[in-house]
Amino acid sequence: MSSTTTVPVFWRSIGQRLTILLAGIAAVLAILSWWMITSFAREAAERTQDNVLVASATTIAEALRSEQGTILLELPYSAFAMLDAIGEDRVFYRVAAGAQTLTGYEDLIPPSNPERPGDVAVGTIDYRGDQLRTVTVMRTVLADQNPVPVLVTVAQTRTGVQAIGSGLSQTAAVLSVALFILAVGLGTFAAGNALQPLNSFAQAVTRRGPSDLRPLRRKVPDELSPLLVALNRLMERLGQSIRRSEEFIAEAAHRVRTPLATVRAQAELALHTVEKDEEKQMLRRIIRAVDESSRSASQLLDHATVSFRADALAQEVVDLADLAEKVTDGLAPTAEMKDITLTLDADGPASVRGDAILLESALRNVVDNSVKYSPAETQITVTLAPADNAHWRLTVRDEGRGFSDASLPELTARFKRGTNVDQIVGSGLGLTIAEDVLVAHGGHLKLSTPDDGAGACVSLILPAA
């Protein structure tokens, strides 16, 4: 069973996470503000209507008078005209002294009546198919010296208030959506901005070469400084560890190779003093074994170097002509021992882009192979020429045994040697190393048998810089 829990895609990015959280908050705030504006607006409109109704009822109440025991009323025009202010709402009214309706709609009964003169009773009722807001005020009128309480009720439908409310609600909705969009935009920007130090920090680490283990000296936000400190400590430990292992390898090589060198030297010296053939054979076997192991060690180290350096390939401009000259110079004495003529046919400069040390290693391994597998008194030619418009070709041609047809594709496979090679010391890694280097540089290695059938031809093809 997999131990990794499924994580929603957006949680994989802090930026997305922040943006979504901010957007969520913005959405909540937008809805909340919409709701608040809507309810405030509705309440304000309702209060306005109540105030207008109170004003209307009060105006009517004030117009009440009595004459010879009769309560008279001249409805002021303004009392109703003012009710037009909010919207086109239906208006109803009733003026009553006790249960007796003096004027207006007799069936308009407010839900509650004020207790005392000057009080206002506000209510909501259903009347003639509409919801009404009713306001009732009380005024005492003297009729024949008797105080008569008169109730003035003014009622109005709420269409206008509702229209105002829903109009404001719509405006608030538009504003809230705009606010939300703005907040999401700002949130995205803020998330990006907040994460910017992290990104630039990551870039600073990424830009570094694999071997650059100096501590990072950057100003980072407080939140990142533990990471920076941890990273620097890690790099320091890594650096120490790499240094230690490099020293260990060097030391180990030294410790192994020096005794081997002693053994080999002593054995070679002993060859001159022993007489018996069996003893000589034995000494030769010792020498061969020493050589084999030292060569294997060299190539393994070479291969490790190639693997390590190819991961983060340097991009310096390398002149192949110069490089070929160095390699042939270095191997000339070895070739000379077998009276092999090592010639270089190269007209520089031939620039390629890459790691000089790796390229040199590749060519040296190929030439070294040729020297090893060529018989004495033969020719090895290293030629540098353009392969096509965009590539250089370094060809190493010898007059040795060449490759058997079957072995060509397999030859570069690690640890494989040509089937027709016997007795010659070599781990077979040489061509593998060369191929790895070339592939890392965007090139390739080509093995062929020359047309005249004699010897082998190894071509190193590299893209020109």
Binding site: A250, A253, H254, R255, V256, R257, T258, P259, L260, A261, T262, V263, R264, A265, Q266, E268, L269, L271, H272, D277, K280, R284, I287, R288, V290, D291, S294, A297, S298, L301, D302, T305, G330, A332, P333, T334, E336, M337, K338, D339, I357, L358, E360, S361, R364, K372, A376, E377, Q423, I424, V425
Partner: protein, 220 residues
């Protein structure tokens, strides 16, 4: 030729000294860089063989220092074989390097190559009858004509020249002549001996076959 060998491993040093002495070279041995400094102060050397890892310091630092004062050619003996180390060493001013363990034949070949590149001011010529043999230059002069010798002819001649009148067995010659990584049959010796006879007959040098034992070179 006179060598200065800077090497802290005594067994290896002894083996190298013994082997070089066989070829008639003089070798002074320094176990430390300090000792090497002292030797360099008192004597002139044709070539220095320098180990880079020594008890009292890094041979590469010494190399950098020496390069500024001394003209003596240097071949670095290194146990490190990484590509970068080789490049480093050469950049620091070594004339060549050789990785331990090494074939004496290769060491010899590299020494010769270094000296040839440097252009040895006073070649040690060996008269062979009517001819003059220059082992370091790898030439044989006769009748005012100087001819280059092939490497294997040269090395065979050198052995014969240092052992005037001695009988040398084919095996002895083989051991001295060829590097150990190449399989060479005793028949090859016969081929090279025949070549040398041809080159030297006019100068009055004779290589005699001692049946069942080996060869002996004699000259007047």
């Amino acid at each position: 030729m006179r060598f200065l060998l800077v090497e802290d491993n005594i067994e290896l040093a002894e083996a190298i000294i013994a082997r070089l002495s066989l070829d008639g070279h003089a070798v002074d041995h320094a176990k430390t860089l300090a000792a090497a400094d002292e030797w360099l102060a008192v004597a002139e050397y044709d070539l220095m063989l320098l180990d880079v890892m020594l008890p009292d310091g890094d041979g590469r630092a010494f190399l950098r220092k020496t390069r500024t004062t001394e003209r003596v050619p240097v071949i670095v003996l290194t146990a490190r074989s990484q590509v970068s180390d080789r490049v480093d060493t050469l950049d620091l001013g070594a004339d060549d390097y050789i990785t331990k363990p090494f074939d004496f034949a290769e060491l010899e070949a590299r020494c010769r190559a270094v000296l040839r590149r440097r252009g040895t001011p006073t070649p040690a010529l060996i008269p062979l009858g009517g001819a003059l043999f220059d082992p370091s230059g790898g030439t044989l002069s006769h009748d005012g004509e100087t001819k280059p010798l092939r490497n294997r002819e040269l090395r065979l001649l050198e052995v014969f020249a240092r052992n005037k009148g001695k009988i040398l067995s084919k095996t002895q010659l083989l051991d001295r002549l060829f590097s150990q990584d190449a399989e060479v049959s005793e028949n090859a010796i016969e081929v090279y001996v025949a070549r040398l006879r041809k080159r030297l007959s006019a100068a009055g040098v004779e290589i005699e076959t001692v049946r069942g034992v080996g060869y002996r070179m004699t000259w007047a």
